[in-house]
């Protein structure tokens, strides 16, 4: 009972963060909202695993947490440098 309630509430909160991702005036707002969405997804998967009495879902939640971090850092880096590699020395000059 409580687990299903928590899962439903988390899905609702994920919709709230999606509003900011759609509305955000700058690209950083969108990245922040998507990062929060990913974090809430981790919690939702974990709680749903307990709801379905299959805690093996935690492996998927762990994977989501890892991918969420790497993905956010990659998006930030891509927006900042227009590049996923190391910045060249010319780009570093005007930092």
């Amino acid at each position: 009972m409580l687990y299903s309630l928590t899962t439903a509430a988390l899905v609702f909160i994920m919709f709230l963060t999606i509003i900011r991702a759609l509305k955000g005036p700058t690209v950083y707002d969108r990245i922040l909202a998507v990062n929060s969405f990913g974090t809430l997804t981790v919690a939702m998967i974990a709680v749903h695993g307990f709801l379905a009495d299959r805690p093996e879902f935690l492996d998927i939640a762990m994977l989501y947490a890892l991918i969420n971090f790497i993905g956010t850092i990659a998006a930030v880096k891509y927006v900042k440098f227009n590049n996923l590699g190391f910045p060249t020395s010319e780009e570093q000059k005007d930092m």
Binding site: A9, I13, L32, T39, A46, P55, M62, V79
Partner: protein
């Protein structure tokens, strides 16, 4: 004893959901990127932390608890790193933080900055 554990776990889960809700409202309502990061921080620390502590009190075996702890510690360490990188990119990208004058102007004109 079991009932007490269950009640504490329920309180933690509901508290985590409430804090996540507060963080999401903050992400929607606050005026600019740097303020909104505060809402994201609430979700990443108190929201997730309380939900996972609530789940930790009801684990069926020790390996599940170990996985929960691993996820908790990972999010606890990566959330500040992400927020820091994002703030640095925003400064580099030319987003000006709100100053006190801007806030006064917003108050006087009554515009809702979260819509902009």
């Amino acid at each position: 004893m079991e009932l007490a554990l269950e009640i504490i776990s329920w309180v933690c889960l509901i508290g985590g959901v409430i804090f996540s809700l507060i963080g999401a409202i903050g992400i929607i309502r606050l005026p600019d990127v740097y303020c909104r990061m505060h809402g994201g921080g609430i979700i990443d620390t108190l929201g997730i932390g309380l939900i996972f502590i609530g789940l930790l009190l009801q684990v069926p075996d020790w390996i599940t608890g170990a996985k929960l702890l691993l996820i908790l510690v990972f999010i606890f360490f990566t959330s500040p790193a992400t927020t820091y990188a994002l703030a640095r990119a925003a400064i580099y990208g030319g987003v000006e933080p709100l100053q006190e004058d801007d806030l006064k102007k917003i108050k006087k004109e009554g515009v809702d900055p979260s819509n902009s």
